[in-house]
């Protein structure tokens, strides 16, 4: 089996550097977009992204598949980093320092692109969806909750949640596509 056929959960469970690198490639843009949307500060988003992955690298042995998808675990770390940054007014660098990683200075071009990631106002688009779709899309896409968690919360099946999210996203794709 080559690494590219492994799931994120399998990649995270392996200890070798190449597996973590692939996991990073799968998730980096999502994490960057997550921070860009929430902070509206590209430089802070870049710092938080780096700190989140450094924390994930340092603590990946604590990840347990039984507790949920790898992405949910990663975004749990991201949410904590965001809360810390809001509390302190800046992005922590504890994990990067522990790993001997210097702060990466984003270029102007980096900042411009990160800003673009954050400018897509998904939240306002979600508001136009029917409530049953809007709620699950918001929870799954913006708040990063997994299908199983949502199904438990809504006392319904995972299949129903998947269907609602899928329909909601299809509607959103149409709306984004119809923008000038």
């Amino acid at each position: 089996m080559t690494l590219t056929t492994l799931s994120d959960e399998e990649l995270l469970a392996r200890a070798d550097p190449a597996s973590f690198e692939l996991f990073y490639r799968h998730q980096a843009q999502r994490v960057l977009a997550y921070f860009a949307r929430r902070t509206h500060e590209p430089e802070l988003a870049a710092d938080l992204t780096a700190e989140t992955f450094a924390t994930a690298l340092a603590s990946r042995r604590r990840y347990r598949r039984a507790r949920g998808p790898a992405a949910a675990w990663l975004f749990g770390i991201a949410a904590k980093k965001l809360a810390d940054a809001r509390r302190k007014g800046y992005a922590e660098s504890r994990a990067r320092r522990r790993l001997g990683m210097e702060r990466l200075e984003p270029t102007d071009e980096d900042l411009r692109r990160i800003e673009q990631l954050g400018s897509l106002d998904v939240a306002s688009l979600v508001d136009v969806l029917p409530p049953d779709q809007g709620g699950v899309v918001r929870a799954h896409v913006i708040d990063e909750l997994g299908y199983r968690e949502l199904a438990d919360d809504l006392h319904t099946s995972e299949a129903v949640v998947r269907k609602r999210v899928s329909r909601g996203l299809a509607t959103l794709r149409d709306k984004i596509g119809s923008r000038p």
Binding site: A46, T49, A58, A83, Y90, R97, G100, T107
Partner: protein, 361 residues
């Protein structure tokens, strides 16, 4: 999207992952020796001798990475390293002791600086703590991940007990948004992103509020001594306040974080330290010290952790505040500090791994 940043971060993470992997191999090698692995035939003896030599060196390195519980007998340099807690966040010296916040153990530890033994373990609840010593007490600001910070705890050094939990509000009920606490002989200030607030130690009330217009910027640093409270703002301003009244006395444009050491106003940037003329804001000298993560004054010197230019381990440098000359530099063989502080004539460094490193010039 943003491939440059993402790719550079990928390379950084790859290097870090490879270093982590090497450290894991090293630790496993040392553990196998500790379990008593032996050569079973004479034919293995020569190979074993070579392996033993390599592993002895590996053991030395692993000890450096793991931390050595024995205080060293050296008189200068890194003189001791030990592990009093689970995850240390801050350290201060005062009342003949070192005080360390142990986030992992939800406690403030009081440590005897001669024996390195924990003499009191003060339970404070969960979360990180910022510590300061002044006005006859130890002050601990509780950081909360899911809401406003606080309360501010007052710890009596005679009883090692929390004697007050001070709510972060002005008398008017207006909340005090706190990000840190600083204290001197008779002043205690809580610093927030948009202002500074003086606590009257006698009444336990906040009596002075100094809002600082920061717009999109924040106050990111503060230094307090008997004569001035300096606030560093990320828009480049360095604001001097009277520490008793909060009256604004001076505003400089410096773009770095302030600290006063033996009467000299120093400014700590990301890569260098400058001495600043407090009247004009002019730099009197500049000294590059690698990438600076933490700094503090101790024994009349400025101590900085300028790690990155020397690899992943922390390197402590001590600067003479008058001349900028680096009078001492020590490799700690450990990862970068969370905080460093003067404890008597020594510098104590608190690490997230739960270890403390003690250095002496």
């Amino acid at each position: 999207v943003s491939e440059d940043f993402v790719t550079r971060l990928q390379l950084q993470l790859r290097e870090a992952a490879e270093r982590e992997e090497q450290r894991g191999r090293l630790a496993r090698s040392v553990r196998s020796i500790a379990r008593g692995a032996r050569p079973v035939t004479l034919a293995h003896a020569a190979a074993f001798a070579l392996v033993a030599a390599v592993l002895a060196y590996a053991g030395y390195l692993a000890t450096a990475l793991r931390g050595d519980e024995r205080p060293a007998k050296r008189q200068s340099g890194v003189v001791a390293r030990f592990t009093p807690g689970e995850a240390l966040d801050d350290v201060v010296g005062g009342f003949g002791s070192a005080w360390v916040s142990d986030t992992g153990g939800n406690a403030v530890l009081r440590i005897d600086p001669r024996t390195h033994r924990v003499v009191a373990r003060i339970r404070v609840g969960g979360g990180d703590l910022g510590l300061a010593v002044g006005a006859g007490s130890l002050w601990a600001l509780q950081y909360n991940a899911s809401g406003p910070n606080g309360p501010l705890l007052r710890i009596d050094p005679r009883t090692n007990r929390v004697v007050a939990r001070i709510a972060l509000t002005m008398r008017s009920g207006v909340p005090v948004a706190a990000a840190g606490v600083v204290a001197s002989h008779d002043n205690v200030w809580v610093i927030g992103a948009g202002g500074a607030y003086r606590l009257d130690p006698a009444s336990g009330r906040f009596t002075v509020a100094v809002p600082v217009r920061v717009g999109a910027y924040i106050i990111d640093s503060a230094s307090l001594d008997g004569s001035a409270l300096w606030l560093g703002v990320t828009d480049g301003r360095l604001i001097r306040l009277d520490p008793r009244t909060g009256v604004r006395e001076r505003v400089l444009r410096v773009h770095v974080m302030p600290i006063t050491v033996s009467g000299a106003l120093l400014a700590v940037g990301q890569y260098e330290v400058r001495r600043i003329d407090p009247d004009s804001g002019r730099a009197l000298w500049r000294v590059p010290v690698g990438t600076i993560y933490r700094y503090n004054r101790a024994g009349g010197l400025l101590w900085v952790d300028g790690s990155a230019s020397h690899g992943p381990f922390a390197r402590l440098s001590a600067l003479d505040p008058r001349t900028g000359r680096v009078v001492a530099a020590y490799d700690t063989r450990d990862f970068q500090p969370e905080a460093l502080a003067a404890v008597g004539p020594e510098v104590w460094v608190a690490l997230n791994s739960g270890r403390v490193i003690v250095a002496r010039r």
